[in-house]
Amino acid sequence: MAVAAAAKVQEVREITRIERIGAHSHIRGLGLDDSLEARHVSQGMVGQVAARRAAGIVLQMVRDGRIAGRAVLLAGQPGTGKTAIATGLAQALGHDTPFTSMAGSEIYSLEMSKTEALTQAIRKSIGVRIKEESEIIEGEVVEVQIERPATGVGTKVGKLILKSTDMETVYDLGGKMIDSILKEKVQSGDVITIDKATGKISRLGRSFTRARDYDATGQQTRFVQCPEGELQKRKEVVHTVTLHEIDVINSRTHGFLALFSGDTGEIKPEVREQINGKVAEWREEGKAEIIPGVLFIDEVHMLDIECFSFLNRALENEMSPIVIMATNRGITRIRGTNYHSPHGIPLDLLDRMIIVPTVPYDEKELKQILSIRCEEEDCQMEDKALEILTKICTETSLRYAIQLITTSGLIARKRKAPEVGIEDVKKAYMLFFDESRSIQYLTDYQKQFMFDQDDDLTSMDTS
């Protein structure tokens, strides 16, 4: 009995395991109501009411899609929810609006110039909705078989049997397709469509022939007829591609050279010009619609002066997206120069931005965030332990306190306790240093560390 239960848990894990818990995976949106007012605790967001309301207005601006090339700066101390707000905005925008997220340091690559990397990021954030004829497979799932090799390593093998009222076919699945089938939790009896070119799966509902196992399904399950005729059809579908994707399709080297070209590398400006022309033409003919999205640059102070001046220019283009940047710097040196400027961003670019400040959380909000994270990380915590953790949080930092959740959870599990107690949090606090205790330790034992004298030299230099 116990063995059977364990096996069942294993199975459930297998299916839902695909998404791991990230730093911002508890965020499901901006937590705004219909009039774009911020609810105090909603969709994983806590506090930061003014900044979220501002983000709500930016959201409205993006949705309207009429204003191009605005820049928004999220500025605030570390751990005040800048990236969380950007993630929430991305969630609120939904699937169809392109949202590109990058870190300021990502543009430094040996394969690509800085401006090329920025151009690609900008073009990834502009979507084009276009009608295209594509091959669609539509049918009722008879069986899904996914097998992994007995050794545990190597590629998975997948088979999908689909049927219509007139025929039945066995399909082989590639690795990507297997993942999306697992993610969509496709089961036998579902009626699905698969876009053959992009691999996008959409679930139409459950087949009427399966209506008898109604009690096993949710209330909201929709029942549909099993499709007729051929499984594979040509249909006009509307889909969104980004300008960058069109660039890539058109810049591939032709013929046998395509075998050797792996990455796209740099894309010629002529190709881009041609595509811009084409897209404008489609828009005039009513064949396509442009969806300006959002480009989010985290740690924007890592960009240097050249990038800033490039951005200045790029924002003026009417095809440019809304650019949201985030920084945790105060008045500091602009990278690549010796000038100081607020947020490490030149004044002329700052002048073009609207700045949204984020403020440190108060104790009550910190407690709420910690309890949301406890839930997300699947960790039962006693109220008292949570209070201690909040205290640690106010004295050290929010990030450190969040790190202690899973670690103390593991400590509690070791002593087979169902909930995390004060003891466990204390133990984790003793085991793992936070930043200020680490600094304290270093200053106390400075003399015993390596290359100690170097430090003296530099301090002599500066004085």
Binding site: I130, E132, I137, K159, L160, K163, S164, T165, D166, M167, E168, T169, V170, Y171, D172, L173, G174, G175, K176, M177, I194, K196, A197, T198, G199, G229, E230, V241, I246, I249, N250, R252, H254, A258, L259, I275, K278, W282, K287
Partner: protein, 200 residues
């Protein structure tokens, strides 16, 4: 004689001769491309393919209308989803007297199949009584010349896991093909290995 014949006559054509095979490439007015391969001994088309261009650009793919499909080869693309190798697939060929479809990997006995002509939709439909296979077979030649399929001209055979559907060519098609072949014969063909300039 027909619009299609004049279109083909006016198209920009390039012709190559390889042994007794003559390959003709047509650049059609609306940006389409077509390639045909003729056997000069019998005067029959062995292969015909169309280039499919996508709106979004990029290198198009060849769609085989007649003859055996291209082997999968060294395509570096990752497969998302494709039919299992054991599943039925259709290949077409043309002989002097008839159009033929061969549907391979169909193991069921001949009584299972029914092939019907559907003049209103201009295609043939293959059905199976056990509901395992269903296919609409388009007849591009008929569509181009505006011919409607007739039930009485269909014959089916089943051999070696293959369903063979034979359709007797109508006179109109025969005349058209003869006229086109006469035209092909007059084209100046480049022979294999021949070049425009002399490489040093």
């Amino acid at each position: 004689m027909s619009d299609w014949l004049t279109t083909l006559k006016n198209a920009k054509r390039t012709c190559i001769q390889q042994g007794n095979l003559r390959k003709v490439h047509y650049d059609l007015p609306n940006g389409k491309e077509m390639v045909e391969e003729y056997n000069m001994d019998t005067g029959v088309v062995n292969r015909r393919a169309w280039k499919i261009k996508k709106d979004l650009g990029g290198e198009g793919q060849w769609l085989i209308e007649l003859g055996d499909p291209e082997p999968p080869g060294l395509s570096g693309e990752q497969v998302l989803i494709k039919e299992n190798a054991s599943q039925p697939f259709v290949s077409r060929r043309v002989t002097k007297r008839s159009l033929e479809w061969r549907i391979r990997n169909l193991p069921y006995p001949i009584e299972t199949y029914s092939v019907t002509a559907e003049p209103e939709n201009k295609y043939l439909t293959v059905r199976t009584t056990n509901k395992k296979y269903f296919k609409k077979l388009e007849i591009p030649e008929f569509e181009r010349l505006n011919i409607l399929p007739e039930q009485s001209k269909i014959e089916i055979q089943h051999k070696f896991n293959t369903l063979i559907i034979t359709y007797e060519k109508p006179e109109v098609l025969k005349n058209f093909e003869k006229a086109l072949f006469d035209e092909i014969k007059t084209l100046k063909a480049k022979h294999e290995g021949e070049m425009d300039c002399k490489p040093s």
